[in-house]
């Protein structure tokens, strides 16, 4: 039945978006994770990627969370000579996480999640409308 396939496709979207939320939460939680010794790198921001995947059972292209890749942007630095991870000039490398970007990204993930959820609700309503034909 196509309706159940529809729900399966939307569920793949839900799963991908919640995986994205997980990666974003990791980034936000580690926004201040510096190294503990000079020369070491602090936390590097992770970027979730999405890939279309053709599902033979559903006969449709569903979405899946691809590989989580590190963000190649340079680290921020701050002058803090007393920090254990400070280099010879007294600069500490901070993670390349921008909490504003993460928050906006999270909003977008939430919006996409809700859209998939809406589609499931609407499909369920269509199914129950079909069943009502029998009841009359």
């Amino acid at each position: 039945m196509d309706f159940l396939k529809t729900i399966g496709i939307a569920a793949s979207g839900l799963k991908a978006q919640s995986g994205r939320m997980r990666v974003l939460a990791e980034n936000i939680a580690n926004a201040d994770s510096t190294a503990d010794r000079p020369g070491a790198d602090p936390y590097r921001r992770k970027v979730p990627t999405f890939q279309p995947r053709f599902d033979r059972e559903l006969d449709a292209s569903v979405v899946a969370l691809g590989r989580v890749r590190p963000d190649q942007a340079p680290f921020r630095t701050r002058l803090e000579p007393g920090h254990p991870a400070a280099d010879a000039e007294g600069r500490v490398k901070l993670p390349n996480v921008n909490s504003l970007v993460e928050t906006v990204d999270m909003r977008e993930a939430q919006r996409s999640y809700e859209a998939n959820l809406n589609l499931i609700t609407s499909t369920r309503r269509m199914i129950s409308r079909t069943l009502e034909i029998l009841r009359a």
């Binding site: 196509d2 309706f3 396939k5 529809t6 729900i7 496709i9 939307a10 793949s12 979207g13 991908a16 978006q17 994205r20 999405f50 890939q51 279309p52 449709a60 292209s61 569903v62 979405v63 977008e108 919006r111 996409s112 859209a115 998939n116 809406n118 589609l119 609407s122 499909t123 309503r125 269509m126 409308r129 079909t130 009502e132 034909i133 009359a136």
Partner: protein, 133 residues
């Protein structure tokens, strides 16, 4: 004679199947709303001939390499006018969630309409055979 052979009921059946397939295509669009390079798709609405039979999509066969495909040739039944897109993000994704939500709710309402008409047609048949609906 099966109930599905009646033109009205056959048309409604085709229509409901079309809504079902369209809902699937819309789900694909929404779930790939963040996939780079994904273009949303839609289905062409079924056209019915005078006898109530759904006009099949007869296409031009390309038999030689030099033939030029007709404009907008995609998968069978796909709407070729799908180019009416609101925006394309830098990643090449052209899905607009609001547009898709609008289509999904419209699809749901139209499906409910077709289902009601189907139900009423069955009631009409029941009345015809003398049973009170």
């Amino acid at each position: 004679m099966a109930v599905g052979d009646l033109p009205l009921i056959g048309m409604l059946k085709t229509r409901m199947q079309w809504h079902q397939s369209r809902q699937k295509v819309l789900a694909e669009n929404v779930s790939n709303a963040d996939t780079p390079g994904f273009k949303p798709r839609d289905l062409r609405s079924p056209a019915f001939g005078p006898a109530g039979a759904a006009a099949g999509g007869v296409g031009v066969q390309l038999t030689q390499a030099g033939h030029i495909a007709p404009a907008g040739a995609g998968r069978p039944g796909e709407d070729a006018r799908g180019a009416r897109r609101f925006e394309t993000t830098p990643s090449g994704n052209a899905v607009n969630l609001e547009d898709e939500m609008l289509k999904a709710s419209q699809n749901q309402a139209d499906y409910a309409l077709a289902a009601s008409l189907y139900q009423k047609s069955l009631q009409m048949l029941r009345t015809a055979v003398g049973r009170r609906a």
